[in-house]
Amino acid sequence: MEKTLKGLTTIAGYLTLVVIGVTLFVMTSKPGGKIAPMTALVDRIMHHRTTRIAIILAWWWVGWHFMVNTVRR
C-alpha cells in the first residue's frame, strides 16, 4: 500500500510537469507576448554550432536510451 502510494506520488509529479510544460508551450505560442514562443527560442539557441551539436546528441541519446539500452536500476 505504502509502495503504491509512493509510486502514485512520483507519477503525479511527472504528470504535473507534463501539464506545466504543455500549458507553457500553448500559452506562449503566439509571438508578441511577455514570454517568447518556444519555436523562436529554439531558432535562437540553435544559432551556435556547439549548442546544435549538444542538443542533437541529447536527442539521439533519448532514442538510444529507450530503444537500445536495457532499462535497469
Binding site: 511527472y14 507553457l24 546544435r52 542533437i56 536500476r73
Partner: protein, 193 residues
C-alpha cells in the same frame, strides 16, 4: 564565412561542456558503462569543437529536400517499430543515424546573433526552470530507487515508459514518431534559413 563565436561560459568552459561532463559523472556513479562511453564521446566532441580542433569538418548548412526527409522519417519510424528493441539491429540503426544528424547540425554559424529581447530572456528562464525541475524529479526518483531497491516505489520515466515500448509495436511507433518529430523541430528543416 562568419567566425565561430563563443557563447558565455562557466569557469571558462561552454555551459554544454558542464552539462555533458556532469551527466558523464552521473552515468559513472550509476555504473552504466554504455552510457558512460556515449557521454564521454559526446563531451569530447563538444570540447574538441569548442577548442577549434575540428575546423576541417566545417561546411555550409545542408539543404535536403523535404520529401527525402519525410520518406526517411517514415522508414525510420516503421523500422524502429517493427525491429525488436534492445537488439543489434536497433543499435545499428542508431549508430548509423548519429553521423547523419551530426553532419546536419555541424554547419558553420552564419551571421551575428541578434541581441535577445526581454521576451526571449523570460522564455529562456521559463524553459530552463522547467527542464531543471524535470531533471531533479527524475534524478530524485533514480536516487530513491537505488537507495530503496524498489523499482516501482519511485519509478523513473524509463521504468514507466520502457514496458510500453518493449511490448508493443504501437508503443514503439508512437514513441519513435514523437522522438523523430522532436528531432525534426531541432533540425529546423521546415524553417526558412
Amino acid at each position: 564565412m562568419a567566425e565561430n563565436r563563443k557563447i558565455g561560459g562557466i569557469l571558462g568552459f561552454n555551459p554544454w561542456i558542464w552539462v555533458f561532463g556532469l551527466t558523464l559523472a552521473l552515468q559513472l556513479i550509476r555504473g552504466s558503462w554504455g552510457d558512460t562511453i556515449i557521454f564521454a564521446f559526446d563531451t569530447a566532441l563538444i570540447l574538441a569543437n569548442e577548442l577549434g580542433m575540428l575546423k576541417f569538418l566545417r561546411h555550409e548548412r545542408p539543404r535536403i529536400e523535404k520529401r527525402v526527409i519525410a520518406v526517411g522519417m517514415v522508414c525510420l519510424a516503421v523500422a524502429l517499430s517493427l525491429i525488436p528493441p534492445h537488439t543489434m539491429a536497433s543499435a545499428l540503426i542508431f549508430i548509423g543515424l548519429l553521423p547523419i544528424v551530426l553532419w546536419m547540425v555541424w554547419y558553420q554559424d552564419r551571421g551575428v546573433k541578434a541581441k535577445a529581447q526581454r521576451a526571449m530572456f523570460w522564455a529562456k528562464v521559463a524553459w530552463v526552470t522547467f527542464a531543471v525541475a524535470v531533471c531533479l524529479w527524475e534524478y530524485s526518483a533514480n536516487l530513491l530507487t537505488i537507495a530503496s531497491g524498489e523499482l516501482y516505489a519511485y519509478p523513473t520515466i524509463s521504468v514507466l515508459v520502457a514496458p510500453w515500448i518493449d511490448t508493443t509495436a504501437l508503443g514503439r511507433f508512437m514513441f519513435t514518431a514523437v522522438w523523430l518529430l522532436l528531432g525534426l523541430g531541432f533540425l529546423r528543416i521546415w524553417r526558412k534559413p
